[in-house]
Subunit: 421 residues, 2 copies
């Protein structure tokens, strides 16, 4: 029997896994931000609330539960409801991708897709190849697996197959990368696909922003390029991720992975180990939203609003912070990436002082696990209206001045493509 006199000699608390010591301060800062009245939040990739089709989704939700109570309220299949897998596959077939339901796994958000990929492809110490900087949330998702990172060097013209070789997988956001907003060119896409085929490395194409082209026609995805001349996806080197978060409503937490059947089976085993199955009602709502054209109905308003805000933010940056930051105008997506002209600026301090001055911006550091990117900031233009975007940049300019940052040589608009809308 246990000696009960020992009970009061309290032992130390729980030991937490080492990866938890390496997380970034995003969450705590965002929680603090929520309680600051009047704060202009340019930090997250949040949709404008006015774009959420609440009335339509309310009616869809009510009817879905009555029509499909077991699908909505009971346990569902781990890889997703059969109707939703097939509906997603149809939408890809309409774009020339030979996808069947067996090529589709439904996820509870893009973040879950990243977590599942880490689970099936990596063990501690494995290498992931990607552009640096890249999405901080992906690095968050993979941190519990303790990977190392290798910079791909796409824009520097590196030998991509050599950079991919031996990696557990390669990660890319070809359409308006988070954080840089960069649109990978068609030629670069072809090089990426060829390199994936040569190296035998799975190439993850994360495409949350593929519907958010503001200038010109969408480019073909890596998955579409890989599908040319193929009858199925059995040998496809591309693993394609998408979601409803930017097209309909992020709170639904509905995303998908398109991949070879064997990869989908492994992902399903990982999903069984992660949450057993996704919320059924959200999946039924997704089927209805796809089949009734609600997504296409919402699209023009999203594009018009975000294009105007992209333009407004870039104009406000030129007005207020062009002496401190250079940037490229993104042709789509949600973010403008700014590189500081003065590379000695302490960006964490800039963010903290900006928050005190009433504007929350994102620091570049969480997007750079290798520490190779010059001091940078990420600005989101989707959540705030044009007046707030202007005021936010004015507050940021005040913060630069208060920190005593010396103005650099203005580069705007020399390095930026012209605004085309």
């Amino acid at each position: 029997m246990t000696d009960r006199s020992l009970i009061d000699s309290r032992p130390a608390g729980p030991r937490f896994a080492p990866w938890l010591a390496k997380t970034n301060p995003f969450t705590s800062r965002n929680i603090a931000a929520a309680s600051i009245p009047g704060l202009i939040n340019l930090s997250g990739g949040m949709p404008d609330p006015s774009l959420l089709p609440a009335k339509a989704l309310s009616a869809i939700a009510a009817q879905a539960i009555l029509d499909y109570p077991d699908d909505c309220l009971g346990y569902g299949p781990t890889p997703g409801l059969a109707d939703l897998r097939e509906t997603v596959a149809q939408r890809f077939r309409a774009r020339g991708v030979p996808a069947k339901a067996e090529n589709v796994l439904i996820t509870a958000s893009g973040t879950q897709a990243l977590d599942l990929l880490g689970k099936i492809f990596t063990t501690s110490g494995d290498t992931i190849a990607c552009e640096i900087p890249s999405y901080a949330g992906a690095f968050d998702a993979w941190r519990p697996r303790n990977p190392t990172y290798r910079h791909l060097g796409l824009r520097e013209g590196r030998d991509l197959a050599a950079r991919m070789a031996g990696a557990a997988f390669t990660y890319m956001i070809p359409n308006f990368s988070n954080p840089t907003g960069y649109l990978v060119t068609l030629e670069e896409r072809q090089k990426l696909l060829a390199a994936a085929r040569v190296s035998g490395t799975p190439l993850v194409e994360d495409d949350p922003y593929g519907a958010l082209f503001y200038d010109g026609e969408p480019l073909p995805t890596l998955l579409e390029l890989a599908s040319k001349g193929q009858e199925n996806l059995d040998d496809c080197p591309i693993i394609h991720l998408g979601s409803l978060s930017k097209q309909l409503a992020p709170g639904m937490r509905v995303g998908w992975i398109i991949a070879a059947p064997e990869t989908i089976r492994m992902l399903s085993t990982a999903k069984q180990a992660s949450d057993m199955c996704s919320n059924g009602l959200a999946q039924r709502m997704a089927v209805k939203a796809m089949q009734t054209g609600l997504i296409e109905e919402c699209h023009p308003r999203i594009i018009a609003l975000y294009r105007a805000r992209r333009n407004a933010l870039c104009a406000a940056m030129a007005r207020h912070i062009g002496d401190y930051v250079r940037w490229e105008v993104p042709a789509g997506g949600m973010f403008v990436w700014g590189t500081l002209l003065d590379t000695t600026v302490d960006v964490e301090r800039l963010v903290d002082l900006g928050m005190q001055a009433g504007v929350l911006i994102g620091p570049g550091e969480p997007f750079d696990p290798l520490g190779i990117v010059p001091p940078s900031i990420r600005l989101s233009f989707t959540y705030c209206d044009e007046a707030k975007l202007d005021q936010g940049m004015a507050r940021l300019a005040q913060t630069f001045k208060a920190m005593g940052v010396q103005p650099g040589a203005r580069t705007y608009p020399a390095t930026s493509p012209s605004l085309t809308s």
Copy 2:
């Protein structure tokens, strides 16, 4: 540049992480089962569809989106909506637990809670202490973290603090363990709590079946015992898991973890890395279901139906398979655990032949990572009506006979508590 002539010398496909080789055949078997007409499924822990309150939840869903569009459709806080965290905390305070919102993390199901616990407490090779057999889904959730297991030996009277010492955490299902249906006694609960305090090991109390007492009054949970004389949960060694899956609707995927604030913060970081945030509509529906008493309204029907089915299954077992299996009648939960009298039976073959004969049962092996449990089966009584339960046991008896299994000495009802309802 990459040598494009190499493209057609296809390299091997993706390398998958080693843990994927160790999964059990549950999923593939259940998928195969779904396409067999007339199969009597006693394998999963599924609710009876007639108990899902579809009309009430349809109305709640429609109104929730109209009343709280941002909560339901936008990104939400990672640890859960503030209203739901507070509502859950209130329900625990009503049972004497000094819980505040900061002690509550909302999860997308009990499975996600297990995944998050694995992420924050274990690194490869760490030890988890638990009763063997224990929940196969927990072993699934932890497999990507590659832990080792130590049998606690509660019912054998082992020194619990010694067995817990050095483990990353201890895992228990005190109310109607999955798979055994065992109800941990009050004295055993007190010993477990004392041992957790002595050893300094977090003790995870998984309580999905706490509302499913069919005989007698509920026993206090470990969390309630640990709360005695405490003003807060800061030093609480218990991490308590619950969900709506057995009380309302599993398809909602709403669960919770109650723990010390530091543990909740770590779990929130792990959740950010897993799915960023849970489905917002389901959380709003959960608040409403708790505040309007819908859960309490559903409860008597659930208890009456499942108690009758528990009785029917045990009576059918006595009628048909009492020569082959011994069991204890569980006082609650969803499962009856049967130990084969002939320990030479190949249980995997029994399951496969049973499936061919039209009844799907669960094999014991996935519940036993140490290989120490005698050949066993798990039978769920919640999904099928009484006629099917009887027919299922008749088919299982035929399967035993077809396999040539020799009848053993009947033990029913000698080892079983009397049926009390």
